[in-house]
């Protein structure tokens, strides 16, 4: 089988296309995201700058203003939201990398392979989510600094929630940029979406006592359903007075119905699937 001096080369035979082949394709696209991320030190560092600014500069600056009436450090309140925001930035950026792949030609290598486009896109989504989660681990490691105990159960729950959030946000970003040909057009578009999402998610302020219009917008924002469970997980490991708990983590309501955390997680999962399907449908119809 191996080549001798004159013999022809060992020919490989490809097995017929099946689900295993599709999974291999998804898996290698996913792994490529990790390899690229691990090589990109700049991205690792710059991805942290913004969340750290929010937490320590904005958080410290505002704490004197908002601290009245509670023992809780404002930064402690801010923390779960900021971790979610760090995932928001990294995950949407990971989605934009599809445009980058297109511009640099590598997308073509994937598009001409005998695999379905959904396998490629699902790989991109999981890759982006993994990268985003890995990045936010640094933020997670800082919880002690803002007075949150290093509880293993809490940390594990957070990682799971961060991964789900990352998957939803990468899928959202993919759905938006999947037809865009140039990196310069993709970036402002995604930026335009993620900034309002960030402010309307309850990441920066508690959802209690909001005016009606703001209440509606936050309830419609999928990111809200990613932030709320994180806040719930973190706050359940803090010693809070019932009043503080009610003000700072009032939970989500649909009308008068308090939405259970598991349902919130369910919303994230359903939104993810929906966004991925949109992305795949649009991807299938591009060149």
């Amino acid at each position: 089988m191996a080549a001798t001096t004159t013999a022809r080369i060992a020919q490989v035979r490809l097995p017929t296309t099946g689900i295993r082949h599709q999974l291999r394709a998804t898996s290698v696209v996913w792994r490529r995201e990790l390899v690229r991320f691990s090589r990109d030190r700049t991205r690792m560092l710059t991805g942290l700058v913004q969340p750290l600014l929010f937490l320590f500069v904005l958080g410290t600056g505002l704490s004197s203003l908002v601290a009245r009436g509670t023992d809780l450090d404002f930064r402690t309140f801010l923390y779960p939201g900021i971790v979610a925001i760090s995932v928001l930035f990294t995950a949407t950026f990971a989605g934009i990398s599809l445009v980058w792949d297109r511009e640099w030609g590598f997308l073509r290598e994937m598009m001409v392979a005998p695999v379905s486009r959904s396998s490629i896109l699902v790989g991109k989504a999981f890759g982006g989510a993994t990268v985003a989660t890995a990045q936010s681990l640094v933020m997670l490691a800082l919880c002690g600094v803002v007075g949150i105990p290093y509880n293993p159960v809490m940390l594990i729950e957070m990682v799971v929630l961060l991964y789900l959030a990352g998957l939803m946000l990468t899928s959202m970003s993919l759905a938006m940029v999947v037809r865009i040909k140039q990196f310069q057009s993709a970036f402002p578009l995604v930026q335009m979406i993620i900034t309002p999402m960030m402010f309307l998610s309850g990441a920066m302020f508690p959802l209690s006592g909001l005016p009606r219009w703001l209440d509606i917008l936050t309830t419609l924002n999928p990111l809200t359903y990613a932030v709320e469970p994180m806040r719930h997980v973190v706050f359940s490991h803090l010693d809070l007075s019932p009043t503080d708990q009610a003000t700072l983590d009032p939970g989500l309501t649909w009308g008068d119905w308090p939405v259970p955390v598991l349902v919130q997680v369910g919303v994230v999962i359903v939104t993810t699937v929906g966004l991925l399907l949109i992305a795949i449908a649009r991807f299938d119809r591009t060149e």
């Binding site: 020919q11 490809l14 490529r32 590598f106 290598e109 001409v112």
Partner: protein
């Protein structure tokens, strides 16, 4: 390959069969026919060259064959599979090297190849040996662990060829594989391609607008304005033009020209030669056979003789009435505000 195969058998073995393939872009008045109904058979094991100026429809044709664009009309099969209805089967049996680089420069050479192997489902047990082979074939074995961003243009191209071969395709498509490379690198790419042909049982389909490169092909098709205007071996195409150019230096050019006309019925002219001086130039079929007759036929002493075969540029000129350079200038896309 057995020589005794009849023509009919070889036709059946056509690796690429194209029938009435057409591609139209746009609709109505603005419709542009990029490919205007071409028919073509490429035999198994051939190195087939697809020639023509930019905008002749070569890339559109190759895209349809590689399942990247759907034909407007007509059909094509590659490795026995229909390019429209059996897309994935076609893709499994072809390797592709595009005009633009499609490597991930943040990955190493080997990582690029492994990525490809996974996408094409190359069995893991066979992958190691195959990786070694394709890397050795393009001479990148020692650079396999280096990031592709450190590679030169020629090395990237070679890596793409290796990648195109990794899954043992039946046909390797190369769209302008040497575009933008310096002459030396171009020559080395062709060395690798002919070496490949010696070692792999593969059909190579290559487009180029460098006429000199087409000499490396077993057969070539010349495409112009969406049609195939000539199809044969490079030798036959050049022979089809009929005449070789013969250039002689004599002691008395005027006498030589008169005697050529009187005794051989050949119209000759004087042309300037490099480094000063004049020479007598004329066209004649089978120039090499004519030279001995020349010495007996002319009374003036002959100091030197040069016989030049027609080039593929001459072939292009004779089939399209234009040189390839003129054709390229004419097909350069007009700005959108210019109505044609």
């Amino acid at each position: 390959m057995a020589v005794s195969n009849t023509v009919r058998e070889r036709e059946r073995a056509a690796t690429i069969a194209i029938r009435g393939l057409t591609k139209t872009f746009g609709k109505g008045d603005r419709a542009v026919e990029a490919v205007r109904g071409i028919d073509l058979d490429v035999e198994a094991g051939e190195t087939f060259g697809f020639l023509g100026p930019n905008g002749a429809g070569k890339s559109t044709t190759i895209k349809m064959l590689c399942t990247l664009a759907d034909p407007t009309a007509g059909s094509a099969t590659v490795a026995g599979h229909d390019v429209v209805s059996e897309r994935d089967e076609v893709r499994r049996h072809i390797g592709l090297v595009f005009q633009e680089t499609t490597l991930d420069t943040y990955l190493t050479a080997e990582q690029n190849l492994r990525f490809h192997a996974e996408l094409y489902g190359v069995p893991r047990s066979e992958l190691g040996a195959r990786l070694d082979e394709v890397l050795a074939m393009v001479g990148l074995d020692e650079r396999r662990g280096d990031l592709v961003q450190t590679f030169s243009g020629g090395m990237k191209r070679r890596l793409e060829i290796a990648r195109g071969l990794l899954h043992s395709p039946r046909v390797l498509f190369l769209d302008e594989p040497t575009i933008g490379l310096d002459p030396q690198t171009r020559a080395s790419i062709w060395d690798y391609l002919s070496e490949l042909h010696r070692r792999e049982d593969i059909t190579v389909f290559v487009t180029t607008h460098y006429m000199d490169e087409a000499e490396h092909c077993d057969r070539i098709a010349i495409m112009d304005e969406g049609r195939i205007v000539a199809l044969d071996t490079p030798e036959a195409l050049k022979a089809g033009i009929g005449e070789d150019r013969v250039r002689i230096q004599t002691d008395d050019d005027a006498v030589a020209i008169r005697q050529l006309s009187e005794r051989f019925d050949i119209e000759a002219t004087t042309v300037g030669v490099d480094g000063g001086g004049k020479a007598v130039s004329f066209g004649v079929p089978g120039g090499e056979q004519f030279v001995p007759r020349l010495f007996g036929g002319l009374d003036v002493p002959i100091r030197s003789v040069t016989v030049t075969r027609p080039s593929l540029d001459d072939v292009f000129l004779s089939y399209t009435g234009r040189t390839i350079r003129d054709a390229e200038a004419a097909t350069r896309p007009a700005p959108p505000w210019v109505r044609r």
